[in-house]
Amino acid sequence: MNIIEIKNLTKVYQKRYSKKKITALNNVNLEIPKGIIFGLLGPNGAGKTTLIKILLEIAYPTSGQTKLFDSEENRTEMKKFTGYLPENHKYPAYLTGEAVLRIFGQLGGCDYKNIKARVSYVLDLVDMKKWADTKIKKYSKGMMQRLGLAQALMNDPKLIFLDEPTDGIDPIGRSEIREILKNLKSEGKTIFLNSHLLSEVEMISDRAAILNKGELVWDGAVSDLTENSKIVRISTDQNISDSVLQEIQKKYDIKKCSQNCLSIALSEIKDVNYAIDELRKNNINIISVIPEKQSLEEMFISLIKNAETEIK
């Protein structure tokens, strides 16, 4: 079952006090199956936040349809089963962490009788118990993010939207949050993650999509991306001379090159032998031959660049 379905979604914002229009989303189509961690990537202003807002009816689509939980029911009702950590979320500064969780938990449909236990559970989960009674105006950015995550989990949602969840959190905190997300996934929950941090999405997402200027430029399984790569990196113990390089270049596309290291793109993996033969012929010793993964980052940058040159 697809927990999220997006069909031909377009969102055009009309700037206030001017005729200027901004196409935040342009004919986006996306299906997200249940039970995965999905990462939506894209540079700032790509439309990631807008997409979540439309799914939660915080903003309305200009055209196209969206569906949550494969259900036609009223979206307000559906929100009983969703959690949301907005980007730059703001809670009233005079509240304590616990009060925030109580208030928004109740609005989220939490049972009043169980609320105390639930507050304590989620605070524990994000490791914020000792700050529960502190006013949030004293919280750091990282603590606010943790509280925001706890808040998003109050109603035990099936589908969790996180907009830049690790923003402002230190590396240790980040890995803790990744653990929390993995645990949530193992409980059968679906997580929709917005991020401009590619490495992060790469580390925990099952599927990802790349949004650029409102257009979906790629979507697929993260594992597909990193496994079927035919780039090989060859390290040598001495500098590779230009003449050897030229020889190899005749046959292969050389991706990256430093003094004693060579990354080449192959059409078939066995073709690597030619490059090795060539190096050996010139008495260059080979230290290692490693198949290189094309990281999401490289893909991301090349896709965004392509899109830009196309426009030009």
Partner: protein
């Protein structure tokens, strides 16, 4: 209903936390102490007699108490409205702040419930404050003069009603402009300038002799809330005189309902 209740309570809590209610109550307490000092400074013993004619009981003390209450009901109405508008002006702009509104709208709460919760919460806050002041004055003058004028207590619902009409207008301007200052200024403009001017529209038209001005003022008179006339009716009621201008109540009620309806309509369609 549960959501409206939750948001009302949350709004009340916001008013407590932002020290709005405390400030309000502090000012009311000061006024009450002032009255207490005045009441303590003179002796009503000489007025403390009754006489009756045609089966009606008269007492100079009662009359004085009644006159005092009618007299203070005007500044109470005006003063509390002034303070109420000021203290409620931030509710909607705060709600609409980025990062806050997104969170509320992500909950299984209908947009009209959210707005109505804010509306009732604000009204409840003002009601509590006015009730504290008016009941305090009522008790003081009751004890002083031994005279209990229940009509004076009607100042509480009437002032709260006037506030809710103006609050609806603040909600509308708050949604459109997201500025508490603008919402406040527009409301003060209607309340302090437009409404008193329009109450005198016949005199103004007569003096200037302009029929265009007369028509214009008449039109404005019908479409803006008649808060000044409401204040007059409030004073009459406090003095146990019958209401002679129900139109002011009806006009204010319709204005409030229409403006609130437009607010909900716009809020429902807005992107955040």
């Amino acid at each position: 209903m549960k959501n409206i209740y939750l948001i009302s309570m949350f709004t009340l809590r916001e008013a407590f936390s932002r020290k709005i209610i405390i400030t309000f109550a502090g000012i009311s307490t000061f006024v009450l102490l002032l009255f207490l000092a005045v009441f303590l400074s003179f002796d009503t013993g000489v007025l403390d007699f009754k006489f009756s004619t045609n089966g009606m009981v008269y007492s100079p003390g009662y009359t004085l108490a009644e006159k005092i209450q009618a007299l203070v009901s005007i500044p109470i109405f005006g003063g509390t409205l002034l303070l109420s508008i000021f203290s409620a002006s931030g509710f909607i702009p705060h709600l609409l702040e980025k990062g806050n509104i997104d969170l509320f709208l992500s909950k299984p709460v209908k947009r009209y419930e959210l707005l109505t919760g804010k509306f009732f919460g604000g009204i409840l806050m003002v009601f509590l404050n006015i009730a504290y002041l008016v009941i305090g004055l009522w008790l003081l003058s009751g004890i002083k003069f031994g005279y209990w004028n229940f009509s004076f207590l009607l100042t509480i619902p009437i002032t709260t009603f006037a506030f809710s009409v103006l609050y609806a207008l603040m909600i509308l301007t708050g949604i459109i402009t997201q500025s508490s200052l603008l919402a406040m200024m527009l409301t003060y403009l209607i309340y302090f300038v437009l409404s008193p001017v329009l109450a005198l529209r016949e005199q103004i038209a007569f003096i200037t002799g302009s029929s265009f001005l007369e028509n214009f003022l008449n039109m404005m008179f019908y479409i803006t809330p008649r808060i000044t006339e409401l204040a007059d009716q409030n004073a009459r009621i406090a003095e146990k005189l019958p209401v002679d201008n129900w139109e002011a109540f009806i006009n204010c009620g319709i204005f409030g309902v229409v403006v609130y309806g437009i607010s909900v309509y716009i809020f429902n369609k807005k992107d955040f």
